[in-house]
Symmetry: D2
Subunit: 342 residues, 4 copies
């Protein structure tokens, strides 16, 4: 069986998905849409892409297309999800699903009604380090989880333009960590308290955002958690976590380009962490796409559902509200919550 | 020049101070007082201690005594400090100075009026790992500090009797971390938000305390921090910290008994952390006593003053209040604060 | 420009090369020959391979073929190299080139006369860890190299049948380390002293081979070296090296599946090394093939020449002689040697 | 019970033993002899040493003295051992016992006839790391040992004067490693092949010695080993070992002043190894003296006997001969050997 795929939005991440999809024998990347296709012709030719269009409806209207990857700007996601669902396409959508919980909910409703698959691009769930920690937790190796700590620092902030349209640190960057928190702990977040600061660049503050945050979490199972974020780590992309339980602890460290250690009269050095997400999550991007393809071909559950996307957004909004009010913010447990998260 | 020292309270920590003092050439440990001296006779003889008494006033009234170490229960500290100050003795006092900020303040006042030295036993300041991180921060190696993370987990909880009289987790255990936070960051804590839980042992909850905590901090210099505590880590005493700044990060890991790594078909293992504070801070206990002796003999400032003790207590009280109210608690900056902390 | 490639011998390594070649845009894997093609039909179809033959001459006689990969048994290498050179094909040949230095020399002569490229499959040269150490040495970071230590242990021995036809430990397994020694040190080996033992499996001894070895080396530049081999490490594939010079040392450690560390009451564990060469050298196999393709397409020097293959074999033979005689064995410097190795 | 001790030779190591002995309650360091006592008066007074003499016979003739520490130059060791044994004193002697196997043998004979204890100062046996590896081997955790690797590099060479009278690298420096090899493997060395070079300082070569060595070993139990030495490691004192067996491997790494790791835009650094033997083996020096005192007081076997000293010297001599002849040198198994080593 073969799957025909269309890509909506051929920016950096869309292009990565194309190459990862092409390496899968059962996949044919037939179509790509983008607002600016002028510079994409050669790239598309080299990859035997048959349809290159500025209008994503060309993809949705193509009855040969089985699945679409939505890699366009966030403010277009929920609309395209609804249209794609209506057209009966399976959907892989980059995170976040939308900037507004209500938008996300209505998109998920459309997906549910259409009975198509929807996977949200929380690529870090596929990172070998984090996956291993999750497995250790699920196997009970560290016992009942008591606390979780996530460190997530970018090597440098995005452009101010991007920041202004990103939905803010919590919605753009921490959303990955909110999803990771649920994924590792296997429990919903029920309270958020956020401290934020502008320490990296005052222009980020001028743009109405923060660049540094420490966010305290309470989980439905009684455990506690904390997420630490910075928009700029001088030494590179810092992606670690540690979960502590009554039988022990498991921690995931950064990946490095080599294992080489150098000792001189000045110091003993090892490699810095891999620079950024493209280097750190190369394999995770491959694995998430493989997982989606398998879920569609074998009619299995996706690893990272629309509901997961929704819950992460809800936590992000709570964090935002906590930052604004200076007080902790409670989250209601959805009836699906604890069942869905396991 | 020689210093004659008396020890008030010969429990576990009092005895350790005696042995560490005896190894210093300029020191004569002349007297020891304890409520129960029956079992101490042989111990005292082996150490050439001349006076063994149940009445600590015998020590304060001995004009030959230059300095006293107060290692009695916390609820006696402030009273003995005042009496010792009045008697003109230099004072080393175990932490905390008292359970009530007002008590501590009045003790400090007595010390100030008497013009004697007072060092508070925040032994962790002398740990080589943490000292090194502090130096790196002060030398600007990691730039302006943005965030601080302290992990502090005991290998097992104290007895329930101890917990009931300990002043609670924040006053008994986290107080070390509150002091460490000020010490590393070189800035006062101005806001505390505490999450706590009873996850280790429900009897601790029945005793009115918590055993697990994540505490968010804001510093006067704008930086953020977080402290993570547990009363029981299955793998031993876990004492780490990491400070992150605009030029990089420095982290201190646990100490282990050996560097040996073993690889078998089952796994690759290294040593667990040293079991508890007596193993981990053996050298720190030696160094803090040496520092106090030097401060007295050479009339220098102590490394860890009564004011430091007071500030840690104030943060502990704020944390307690935050836990009770579920809201962040602000701390007023004392006029001495930022000057004193540098 | 496009390169048409034929594969001679489609065993495990031949198949890996096919998949790695297919991922390169400029490459068309047109033909595969193998003595047993019955079971290869489906595999070949899935990969759009046009010619599947039992007769490798079909590939050499195909004028469309630009380059061949020789992945057949070692005892066929030199003959096929000569024929392929005569046919004007560029050649990638698995190590070793042959079991006899004279055979290798005559094959290299044919290659030289034909003016084709020949790259020998010392894949470890492309491992990121070892490559990094080589660069550090070449950049002078560790100063003048004084000593080199290579640890090379397999997770389990090959079959006895394989051992009997392998040419022995030095020719089959250590040959990679002999090449690595030259590669890292940038100098020829001029003396070998080999200690060997049968400690893993007496049947290996019955087959006339050893399974454990420590080999002392002297280099032309005056440095010393040592290689340690075992056919079976209980914990997996152990591939490390350390070079020590007057300004410091650089060491390359094993790769592991994840960075996860687990602490329990029993122990602190991390992952074992990746199991074997297919896992450890996945990327190195990709990189060596890319390098060969680039060398052919851009008419550049190969990274790992026939001369490198010859020198490694000469050291292996010297080691064998040392083991037999119990005495160190000298190697004459070839006039090409020191020039070629840089 | 109390032990009266005399120290013969109050150089650097003699003074260290004095301080370590004084910390043991049962010990009275009564007498010290040295050829130059002029500068030692104050040092001796501070330590309540009663007898300070230029004539070590004053110590041997003092009937109150129970045990002596021989810390004088190596060429005086065997003579003083004999005289001390004749005087009925227990003996702690620095390594090596002598420069000539025959001298050592005659000294050991005197000790045996007198029935006194003799411990040789192989302090590294007491290092926590190496001790742990030995225990792991003895407990069978790594199975039957197959290979041993010892890395032993000094941070800087001794003075040329010292080198000229030291007996050469193997007798002065590697002798510790020869002893360690026997200690870890629990088996005698039966063959030595030594490669040596002058790479650190040509003046060391002019003085007739080498400064770099790789020494291959065969053990009586069939295992293989290798020792790597350098007189100068730019990054400090490098003292590691790894033993590999059929069930796994155990390795001991260097000790460092702190666990602190610093990440900046330039690199990730950790501490260099502790600078030299006084820092690395501080605790081992304390432990070896405690062990000797216990052996005398409780009439137990010493951990490190005269026979151990003799065997290490025999290996050193064999290594020297191997270096001179360029061939491996066999060592006869003494009848005591395998029994004694367990």
């Amino acid at each position: 069986m073969r799957l025909n795929v269309g890509i909506i939005g051929a920016g950096r991440i869309g292009k990565i998905h194309v190459d990862n999809l092409r390496a899968i024998p059962q996949i044919r990347v037939k179509s790509v849409s983008d607002v600016a296709i002028g510079s994409l012709q050669e790239w598309a030719n080299e990859r035997q892409i048959e349809v290159l269009t500025t209008n994503y409806s060309d993809i949705l209207n193509d009855t040969e297309i089985d699945a679409v990857f939505i890699c366009s700007p966030t403010n277009t996601h929920s609309r395209i999800i609804k249209e794609a669902a209506l057209a009966g396409k399976h959907i892989f959508c980059e995170k976040p699903v939308s900037f507004a919980v209500e938008d996300t909910k209505s998109a998920l409703q459309a997906v549910e009604q259409a009975g198509v698959k929807l996977q949200v691009g929380f690529n870090r769930r596929f990172d070998a380090n984090f996956l291993k920690v999750r497995q250790l937790v699920q196997e009970g190796i560290i016992g009942t989880p008591h606390t979780l700590r996530i460190t997530s620092r970018d090597p440098e902030p995005p452009s101010l333009e991007y920041i202004q349209s990103s939905g803010g640190l919590f919605m753009d960057m921490t959303i990955h960590d909110f999803d990771m928190a649920r994924y590792i702990m296997g429990s919903e977040v029920v309270e958020v308290f956020a401290n934020g600061a502008v320490l990296v660049d005052p222009l980020i503050g001028d743009a109405g955002d923060i660049d540094t945050a420490i966010i305290s979490l309470k989980f439905a199972n009684g455990a506690l958690g904390v997420i630490e974020n910075s928009r700029r780590a001088a030494y590179g992309y810092d992606q670690r976590l540690e979960v502590f339980g009554d039988k022990g602890a498991a921690k995931a460290d950064n990946n490095r380009a080599t294992t080489v250690e150098v000792s001189t009269s000045a110091h003993v050095t090892k490699e810095k962490p891999l620079y950024f997400f493209l280097e750190r999550y190369t394999q995770a991007y491959i694995d998430e796409v493989n997982q989606f393809v398998r879920a569609v071909l074998e009619n299995q559950q996706v690893c990272c559902s629309g509901f997961d996307g929704l819950q992460a957004e809800r936590i992000a909004q709570a964090a935002k509200k906590s930052l604004e009010t200076g007080a902790p913010v409670q989250l209601q447990l959805n009836e699906k919550s604890e069942a869905a998260i396991k």
